[in-house]
């Protein structure tokens, strides 16, 4: 894709992009703006108003519409409701940890306790082998770093009413592009993730999505936190043994977070979860080299229509995840009904928690800011490798994140610190 755009070949009319590519295509004028086409009324109808603000922000650049609605990415917690609500386990957990077994856990710290409790026990009857607490997809070069992003947001983002130098920032200091990735909050989060890793199979260091999801769908772990695909794949009985027992919730909060302003950790009296749009929210963007943008848009808009979008999100193999009003239930401010999902083969109980989890995640008061600047892929790759080294025991959490921060600086300098700062501020909505 980038070769086609950089060389001006114009071979392709459109690309299915992850939002993290916007920094490399939008400022350079490689993306065709689609507002006029949407407003013309000549094409299949959908609007940006069907998106939560957090997702709309990923489909636009400096106010102009670029992306056509398709997929919505964000990580939520999936858990085995039957295990957490089993009276025997509830009693045993309380005896061991001194508090009621939460279903679902409200904080990461509770989740770790629950994962530890269940890890190594054969807590279900799917097979005779011991099962795990948490399964993660940690393979380098794949989706491992997204786990860290989603989890660490609760530890490393200082909540506030708006984006300031110290509030609602995660990646860089928005005044000078100093990396924040090795802040004490990030380090604590990575240490926590290393800890959580101990409650799952050791092999998951080399697992990508398929292996980790399969492990959960085979009933081998109590928890997985991942994308919307898991919820819909749970309903596919050809590969899932947990239909009807696949509950979902917004990712837990942390009972302490790092305050970037005071430089100290704050113990939260009422921990508040941080939402995320982690992933790509893969969607169509029309190439500005296209000689047929109208026809291209017509196809993309067709796939963005209410019925098509709902159908896509109901079937796991499409890779399209929910996040738009078409997919939320009426009680959640959407237009879909439980019956529509049940008609597509879903379990009614699973649907309610699943859509609610995504509603809560995308409309959360505090969100993990999304990185959409030139070089995003390279920043993430550096982070990914260091995280993988930490998860496999090659580096400590501090060392891995210090190395990440050190390696990010020359990338920023090479691309241009001033231009990066400008793009970063625009991407996260920071104003002086």
């Amino acid at each position: 894709m980038m070769l086609d755009l950089r060389n001006g070949t114009g071979e392709y009319d459109a690309f299915m992009v992850g939002a993290f590519w916007y920094g490399d295509i939008a400022p350079q004028g490689y993306a065709f703006e689609i507002d006029e086409l949407i407003d013309s009324g000549d094409y299949p109808a959908w609007t940006y108003d069907d998106m939560p603000p957090s997702l709309k922000a990923l489909h636009t650049w400096e106010g102009a519409g670029i992306g056509v609605l398709n997929d919505a990415d964000g990580q939520v917690l999936y858990y085995r409701k039957s295990a957490l609500e089993n009276p025997e386990h509830q009693d045993a957990f309380k005896a061991e940890y001194g508090y009621d077994l939460p279903s679902p856990p409200a904080t990461w710290q509770q989740l770790r306790d629950v994962a530890r409790y269940f890890n190594g026990k054969n807590w279900d009857d799917n097979d005779a082998e011991p099962d795990s607490g948490m399964v993660l997809h940690l393979k380098v070069g794949e989706q491992g770093h997204y786990h860290f992003q989603s989890l660490s947001a609760s530890f490393a983002v200082t909540p506030g009413d708006k984006v300031t130098q110290h509030h609602n920032v995660y990646w860089f200091d928005p005044t000078d592009m100093t990396p924040l990735i090795n802040s004490p909050g990030h380090v604590k989060a990575l240490e926590f993730l290393q800890d959580l890793h101990q409650t799952g199979p050791a092999a998951q260091v080399g697992w990508s999505l398929g292996e980790a999801w399969d492990y959960f769908l085979r009933g081998k772990s109590v928890f997985v936190f991942s994308w919307g695909d898991v919820g819909s794949l749970c309903q596919d009985t050809s590969r899932s043994v947990i239909q009807g027992d696949c509950a979902a919730a917004i990712l837990p909060a942390s009972d302490e977070y790092y305050d970037h302003e005071t430089g100290e950790f704050v113990t939260a009296e009422n921990p508040v979860p941080v939402g995320n749009t982690t992933g790509g929210s893969w969607h169509g963007v029309i190439s500005n080299f296209s000689e047929n943008p109208e026809a291209t848009y017509s196809l993309l808009a067709l796939m963005a229509m209410k019925d098509v979008s709902l159908w896509n999100s109901q079937h796991g193999w499409t890779g399209v995840d929910p996040g738009y009003s078409y997919q939320f239930l009426e009680s959640q401010g959407g237009t879909a009904s439980v019956e529509q999902y049940v008609g597509a083969g879903w379990d009614a109980g699973d649907v309610k928690t699943y859509t609610q989890a995504y509603r809560d995640t995308f409309y959360a008061d505090t969100m993990l800011t999304y990185l959409r600047i030139p070089g995003t892929f390279e920043y993430w790759d550096i982070l990914d490798k260091n995280l993988s080294a930490a998860m496999s025991g090659e580096k400590t959490a501090q060392q891995a994140l210090d190395d990440t921060a050190t390696a990010w600086e020359p990338v920023t300098d090479r691309i241009g610190r001033d231009s990066q700062l400008k793009d970063y501020q625009a991407a996260i909505g920071y104003e002086d």
Binding site: M2, L5, R6, N7, G8, G10, Q28, G29, Y30, K139, V140, G141, E142, P201, A202, A203, Q204, V205, G206, E211, Y215, N288, F289, S290, E291, N292, P293, G375, F377, E378, D381, K385, N386, S388, A389, A390, M391, S392, G393, E394, K395, D403, A407, R414
Partner: protein, 315 residues
């Protein structure tokens, strides 16, 4: 010179053009971009123009409106700035480069001797009268014909730790940094030992029977036969096989790409893998070219030393 004499140059032309286009030009261009910072951009302007039919009349849509078509104008803007040895200096300060050099060195140092040793032992075995030797020999060389990427994915399933065929061993083939590198070595040995075996077997079968008979008459044991007769006689073959395998192993890419993704962390990220990511994932082409030249220089030094040794030994 008669035209019939000149025509020989005509026959050489395709090869010359091929070498110029696909060897000399890329080599020169990559050297150029290693010393320059090149920024390439295409400015786009668009316009809508009326569609006209063959008679030059506007084409109308069903609703009667004139139809239009899009014209896209592209203007390439390319700037280059001389950065001298900047990209080469980066090589020395980049911890990822040193890690990749270490991974590649360990890989080459372990895999190549193992391939040569195993290949030689197998060749000795197959040089005997074995039942079903032709069929076994054919099976033995099959791995050479497999695509390394496919081999990588094949072994990913074999090394799968939760339920894979070797899962019962409890070995963290892919999740432990040291084991992951060992796994990459193992796969490469599996694939390329047959090559060494094939060449050594051909060399062994080219030796006259009288040599064996003479050695036996002189009372040589089996060990003597190998160390004092066969190895010295096969030395030129061993040198060539070693050279070919070294040159190939130094370019290690496909197997870690498919098997481990270079991980965990960067435990199996080879030098070529790093250069690939730098150039084609992050489009830092100048730095990737500098990396490629680093590898080229290393390979050239090794090859030169080998050939010098060969010339010294055999004239």
């Amino acid at each position: 010179m008669r035209w019939t004499s000149r025509v020989r140059f005509l026959f050489l032309m395709p090869a010359v053009i091929w070498v110029l286009a696909f060897t000399v030009f890329p080599l020169g261009y990559s050297l150029y971009i290693a010393f320059y910072k090149i920024e390439q951009k295409v400015e786009i302007t668009r316009e809508k123009v009326p569609m006209l039919d063959e008679a030059g009349e506007p084409v109308l849509s069903k609703s009667g409106k004139p139809r239009t078509k899009n014209i896209v104008h592209k203007k390439e803007i390319s700037t280059s700035e001389f950065v001298g040895g900047f990209n080469f200096r980066r090589l020395f300060n980049d911890p990822q480069v040193w890690s990749a050099v270490k991974v590649t060195a360990i890989f080459v140092g372990a895999a190549v001797p193992m391939q040569l040793a195993l290949g030689f032992l197998l060749a000795l075995l197959f040089n005997q009268h074995l039942f079903g030797r032709p069929a076994l020999r054919a099976v033995m060389i099959l791995p050479i014909f497999a695509t390394p990427i496919a081999v990588g994915y094949l072994f990913f399933t074999i090394f799968y730790e939760e339920g894979g065929p070797l899962g019962f061993l409890g070995i963290p083939f892919l999740s432990n940094p040291d084991w992951a590198l060992f796994s990459v070595i193992l796969v490469d040995v599996w694939q390329w030992t047959p090559f060494c075996f094939l060449v050594f077997l051909a060399a062994l079968q080219g030796l006259p029977d009288e040599l064996y008979e003479a050695a036996r008459i002189d009372g040589a044991s089996a060990i003597d036969m190998i160390t004092k007769v066969l190895l010295p006689l096969l030395q030129p073959t061993i040198f060539i096989v070693l050279l070919l395998r070294l040159a190939e192993a130094l370019k290690l890419f496909d197997i870690p790409f498919a098997l481990t993704g270079g991980g965990p962390g960067i435990a199996t990220q080879s030098y070529s893998f790093l250069a690939f990511r730098t150039g084609l994932r992050f489009f830092d082409l100048g730095y990737a070219s500098a990396m490629a030249y680093g590898l080229l220089i290393a390979v050239m030094i090794i090859v030169t030393l080998f050939f010098r040794r060969l010339r010294e030994t055999y004239g």
